[in-house]
């Protein structure tokens, strides 16, 4: 606990507490639609944090992160549908498979010194050929999609992750802020410092005794496991899975927008980024619909514009800017001014 909260300014803790408290009572206040928007925002905040560990802290760019979402999703869903295994057990299998995939990609790349853009390309390649594989994988529905039984329940069955939106809302709320705590804990350990050293300069990192291969592998594996857990959630929330959607390139891009906009290499950046991006995107969709405009892809266009603006004016992301304005200690962030 000390390693998570120690040294964090009271003001930051207060604001965080306020945020969590309002999110906890939100289901009692807002309507079903708004709740679904917050829910999906929290989902992107969660997977964004997972990606941020690997890119923002360890400096390893993955552009195929949806691979882990898809593996977690399909594994837990298949175990549940075919064998009736609870997702609370299935998630461990899903995470293990994602970790194995991450380890495979990492060991290939890092062993042979493939870095930067080439590493990113490798992650895309793995996600893409996994998509093609699943498009021909009849056991999980292939191209036709894989569906979880939808039951109309009044009560929630948490053990099988079957229930209404409110249950899912609290699950992702918990995951999102548990991830924040776990990340803070990791980043304040030797591991976190080693990751940042590798991000800043690999050669210098090696010279101070850091086994860069090992620590990059750990980053990929932890990030893969966290992301896969997000996949389990999304599978049981949406009840349907399609290879093109679960493993699609557009999903990988969507996943990394929040941390980039919020601030890579900052703890709170991915959460802030998600809360900026997702509600705006949804709001825009509603606005367009109410004006009778049916423009497919307008949300993507909007994301593109936001990304341009951020990269042009605040390349470090929004969080460093805001945290300074709020007078929150720079220690909330990984890197300070």
């Amino acid at each position: 606990m000390e390693r998570i909260f120690g040294g964090v300014p009271k003001r930051a803790l207060g604001l965080l507490g306020l945020m969590i408290a309002s999110l906890i009572i939100a289901p009692a206040i807002v309507n079903a639609y708004v709740l679904s928007v917050i829910l999906i925002t929290l989902y992107f905040a969660y997977v964004g944090q997972a990606w941020n560990l690997m890119m923002g802290y360890a400096g390893q760019l993955s552009l195929g992160h949806t691979l882990y979402v898809g593996l977690g999703a399909y594994t837990s869903a298949a175990l549940f549908v075919h064998f009736g295994i609870s997702p609370l057990i299935g998630l461990f299998v899903g995470m293990a498979i994602a970790v194995a995939a991450g380890a495979l990609i990492g060991s290939m790349a890092f062993r042979f010194g493939i870095g930067g853009v080439y590493f990113a390309l490798l992650t895309i390649a793995f996600a893409e050929f996994t998509r093609i594989l699943f498009e021909h994988f009849d056991w999980v529905g292939a191209m036709g999609g894989f569906f979880l039984p939808v039951e109309n329940r009044d009560s929630s069955d948490f053990l099988n992750l079957r229930g209404g939106p409110v249950m899912f809302y609290y699950v992702i709320l918990f995951l999102c802020f548990a991830a924040l705590g776990v990340n803070q804990w990791l980043l304040r350990s030797r591991l976190g410092y080693y990751w940042m050293a590798i991000r800043e300069d690999q050669e210098a990192a090696q010279a101070v005794g850091i086994n860069t291969f090992r620590y990059k592998m750990i980053a990929v594996m932890i990030s893969a496991a966290m992301t896969a857990l997000g996949g389990v959630f999304i599978a049981f929330y949406y009840n349907n899975l399609f290879p093109a959607d679960a493993f699609g390139m557009h999903r990988s891009i969507e996943l990394i927008l929040a941390p980039i906009i919020g601030g890579m290499g900052t703890l709170f950046g991915p959460i802030l980024g998600a809360f900026i991006l997702t509600p705006l995107g949804e709001g825009l969709t509603i606005l367009m619909e109410s004006m009778g405009v049916k423009a497919a892809g307008v949300k993507q266009l909007f994301y593109g514009v936001i990304l341009l603006v951020i990269i042009r004016f605040v390349p470090g992301g929004v969080w460093p800017l805001i945290s300074k304005k709020l007078g929150i200690d720079k220690r909330m962030k990984g890197k300070s001014e």
Binding site: Y193, D201, E203, A205, Q206, G265
Partner: protein, 242 residues
């Protein structure tokens, strides 16, 4: 003491046929400060890189404390007890000065708090304590050179390899650095091998000097012997180092 702390034996390195280092043997006894000098392109940094594990030698051996460390990775060489600085400084730019050194100190302890304390102490010794909360990217070049030293020292090495840490310093700053290394050597018994062009520092610090030229050992001896060696003067002719 019969076994030198560092012994490189007939070390050679070829880059696509070019023999950058060609059969160099050097010994550095424990607790001594030795220097490696020579004109630009003589192969000094290549020798350092082979000791530090950046690349494996084509031929020859590196022995540290009697153990063969030839071909180990840089992190393994560091773990064995050799710290190094880079000629072209490589600070962790987006980390604070304190965190830069803290990362080094984590070699000796897994506990961040202990490493932070150790890092503070070292920064104080190097006169960088006033800058500890600054980002490394904001430091001046002389400060970055000192940061390189601090980070390498934090790993707790038995042998410190210094690659031109005095280059670009003003004479008074050079003298401060010389005093620092001399005291460090006296107090901790740390062994130092330095590459240096600043003869003022080489003369003041090192007990023995190796001169390399064209990848080969040209001369060796005490600083006085070396600067009076005609072969050494010839190889530097045209340079204003002497």
């Amino acid at each position: 003491m019969s076994v030198p702390l560092l012994k490189i034996d007939q070390l050679a390195k070829s880059f696509k046929g070019l023999r950058a280092v060609d059969g160099v043997s050097i010994e550095v006894p424990e607790g001594k400060i030795y220097a490696l000098i020579g004109p630009n392109g003589a192969g000094k940094t290549t020798i350092f890189n082979m000791i530090a594990g950046v690349f494996a030698p084509t031929e020859g051996q590196v022995l540290f404390g009697g153990q063969d460390i030839t071909g180990l990775r840089p992190d393994q060489v560091c773990q064995a007890g050799i710290g190094r600085t880079f000629q072209v400084v490589k600070p962790f730019n987006d980390l604070s000065v304190l965190d830069n050194v803290l990362v080094g100190a984590l070699r000796k302890t897994p506990h961040v708090d202990e490493a932070r304390e150790a890092a503070s102490t070292i920064l104080k010794q190097l006169g960088l304590d006033g800058k500890s909360q600054q980002m490394a990217t904001n430091l001046t070049l002389p400060e970055r050179k000192r940061l390189e030293v601090a980070r390498a020292l934090a790993t707790g090495p038995q042998l410190l390899l210094l690659d031109e840490v005095m280059a670009g310093l003003r004479p008074t700053e050079t003298d401060e650095m010389v005093t620092f290394f001399r005291n460090l050597n006296k107090e901790t018994g740390i062994t130092i091998l330095l590459i240096e062009h600043v003869m003022r520092a080489v003369m003041a610090l090192s007990e023995r000097v190796y001169v390399v030229n064209y990848g080969q050992l040209l001369s060796q001896g005490t600083p006085d012997e070396v600067v009076n060696d005609q072969a050494v003067l010839d190889c530097y002719l045209g340079e204003d180092a002497f």
